[in-house]
Symmetry: C2
Subunit: 422 residues, 2 copies
């Protein structure tokens, strides 16, 4: 076994885990690395941020996935450097050598230099951030209940989501429903019209990747839920509880959630090659680094253009299909066969807006309303890993749907010490 | 309504919430105060610490309980001072006046001056502490997997629980099962006998409040699960990964959990009366402060001796019965009737040790094994608040029982910022 090629996979997101699955049982030794011991099912993260789900329901322990994969080891480490020349990965727990390297460390928030939002707003790229946001939103209402100053009360009750892509749309809709169904009953003396949810988008429509009809439908649904949808609106700064808009307008708020852009993981820089827009790493059609046939980059980190010259979107489906291809290409190379090129099969896109409201573009057709919503529920349950997580999510959904309640609104947080503790 | 007496209840634990329930609908205005927006069902906290349950399953949002109580308001505040003479409660969000005051702020860790344990060990008195412990235990195994130093590996895999009461017994048993069933499968290359769980108790038997027969049974059960039970063993210090024992023995470990003592909430000192052992506040048989017929103290904070001259134990059942009595006494006083004295109805005690293993002393009889375990399951499900929490716990238990797995082992933690954020 010692002479089998050693594959290191960095990152256990949708892409990395797919590579691991494809290499399970093959004649390679695989070492899977991640900062966390779990995979996050981030399409449902907005439900954690709005108290509809507990974080464990959408976090799956990596060791649970790989238990049956005998040729695979998993290590919780932070990757610090990559040395392509000497084929080394430097981590906080030692240096590792590889024969094949798969880099799939995903993406992180891109604040485009808006420091005020980076420091005082809320990112929304991982579960800890979703938890911080959940606790903050609920604490804003608790604070408002004891706040004497009317201006501060208004700031506490105004929630702004920046970015009208699927993440922003889903989060804004869920926040509006949280206010409408849960906060209204939790704070019977609160004038519910005093609580505002705004969705701010630079372009002239939401969901740019969807057909225009669905963009219109989504905006209409959100407005019916009470969301103030502002199109053609750029954010220029955020400070001291005031969000500044390009036209000079100022919105008082204590909550600005950033869903307006991502950039590749900073690990991309460690590869030492020229990067593309958003810090993404250009790869060949076979998904390896130009000049390095044993270094593969996939998912949100990879930059590859489709036949129309557009980069493939930073989506879970792209990452998973790329992961599958890389595992196949690694094995093909071993067998002396030619590498396969990446061919993306677009499975469509969907976004949920609220109870019985969603939009979906699948099989070239547009869906909205309850049908799209049921499709959305089914697809997300299907893609969740593990029977336990599926049961937990299903029961939470049933409970939330039937009671209009959100059970996970206790603002539990591990103490700061947690971050530094062994 | 303005001329109705105003009752302030500090603390939404088992005692405080029971007072609130008893006053719901009565001719009083009630203001309920707590630092958190949730009640913790702490009898199941050890299951959160050992990845068997997610924290939200045993946290119930206070506003969910009080929704139907029209004469009740709830505020998330930290109480800083109490002025008995002027009938004021000073909080971080303003000063409040009261006609009747119920102090039920519970208890906190008592490290008896062992600073090493306080600073480097783990308390186990609230959900954030349970989460920190869970993440730490799992990270210890992850660390051990990449640790080159054999001594450090041993420290990382040695888990010590100090205190052989129900909390310590349940935690040690659950840790042993976590190692035995989950860690063994998660780390197939780990020699499982290298992982140690120790339970250290000063007295000559575990579960001092139980009949001796059950103490012996509990120790035997724990030993069968692989726990190293050390009786007549005092801890004298903890530093740099070494726990010191009175006889001079030293045990290398990175995990010392303190379950060996509690003291009344520091708020007891704010009352300005002489305190009893453990910082508890002496109260009359009617449960008010001597000389202050409108200041009631209940639960872990209160000191009252039973007819045999022993203080009532710091248990949920005592707090709940005291809470019920105080709400009744407040209403009796309003009606000009004499106050009732506290009469404790001992409903028995139980502790679970592991799968199909528990001990219970109920109706004057001793139970152990599967019967005690089923009794324990039923009682704890019954006392949990809310249908959602019951379903979540039941499903988790069924899953854990059938699969020998623990689903909640993703080491998710909100970032430090969370602690200071609005």
């Amino acid at each position: 076994m010692r002479d089998q090629p050693k594959v290191i996979i960095i990152g256990t997101g949708f892409g990395g885990l797919e590579v691991a699955r494809g290499l399970a049982g093959a004649h390679v030794r695989v070492l899977l690395l991640d900062r966390n011991n779990y995979q996050t099912f981030w399409p449902l993260m907005y439900q954690v941020a709005t108290a509809a789900l507990e974080p464990q329901a959408i976090a799956f322990p990596v060791r649970g996935v790989i238990r049956r994969m005998r040729n695979l080891l998993f290590r919780v480490v932070t990757v610090q450097q990559i040395d392509l020349a000497r084929q080394l990965v430097v981590t906080d727990r030692g240096t590792l050598t590889y024969d094949e390297l798969v880099v799939s460390a995903g993406s992180t928030n891109n604040f485009f230099g808006l420091q005020g939002i980076e420091q005082q707003g809320f990112g929304f790229k991982d579960l800890p951030e979703a938890l911080v946001l959940r606790n903050h939103v609920i604490q804003c209402f608790e604070r408002a209940a004891t706040e004497m100053d009317a201006h501060e009360r208004e700031r506490l009750r105004t929630f702004i989501v920046v970015g009208g892509g699927p993440t922003g749309v889903e989060l804004a809709g869920a926040l509006a429903e949280l206010v409408r169904h849960v906060i209204r009953r939790d704070f019977p003396r609160l004038d519910i019209s005093a609580a505002k949810v705004l969705l701010v988008e630079m372009a002239d429509r939401l969901l740019l990747a969807f057909p225009e009809e669905l963009s219109r439908k989504a905006a209409q649904d959100l407005r019916e839920l009470g969301v103030d949808v502002r199109l053609r609106t750029s954010v220029t700064g955020y400070q001291e509880g005031e969000l500044r808009i390009k036209d000079g307008d100022v919105i008082p708020t204590r909550t600005v959630v950033w869903a307006a852009g991502v950039q590749a993981s900073p690990l991309a820089k460690a590869l030492g090659v020229p990067l593309q827009r958003g810090g993404r790493v250009p790869v060949t059609r076979s998904l390896h680094l130009e000049g390095y046939p044993n270094v593969w980059v996939i998912g949100d980190m990879a930059y590859l253009e489709d036949p129309d010259g557009q980069p493939y979107p930073q989506l879970a489906t792209v990452a998973m299909q790329q992961g599958k291809l890389v595992s196949r290409n690694i094995l093909r190379k071993q067998q002396g066969r030619a590498l396969d090129p990446f061919q993306y099969i677009d499975k469509g896109s969907m976004a949920t807006i609220g109870r019985r409201r969603a939009v979906a573009h699948i099989w070239g057709r547009n869906f909205s309303g309850p049908i799209a919503w049921l499709l959305w529920l089914a697809v997300h349950l299907l893609y969740l890993i593990g029977i336990r997580n599926r049961i937990m999510v299903l029961i939470n959904w049933a409970y939330n749907y039937l009671t209009h309640d959100r059970g996970a609104r206790a603002t539990i947080a591990a103490r700061p010490r947690d971050a530094t503790q062994v």
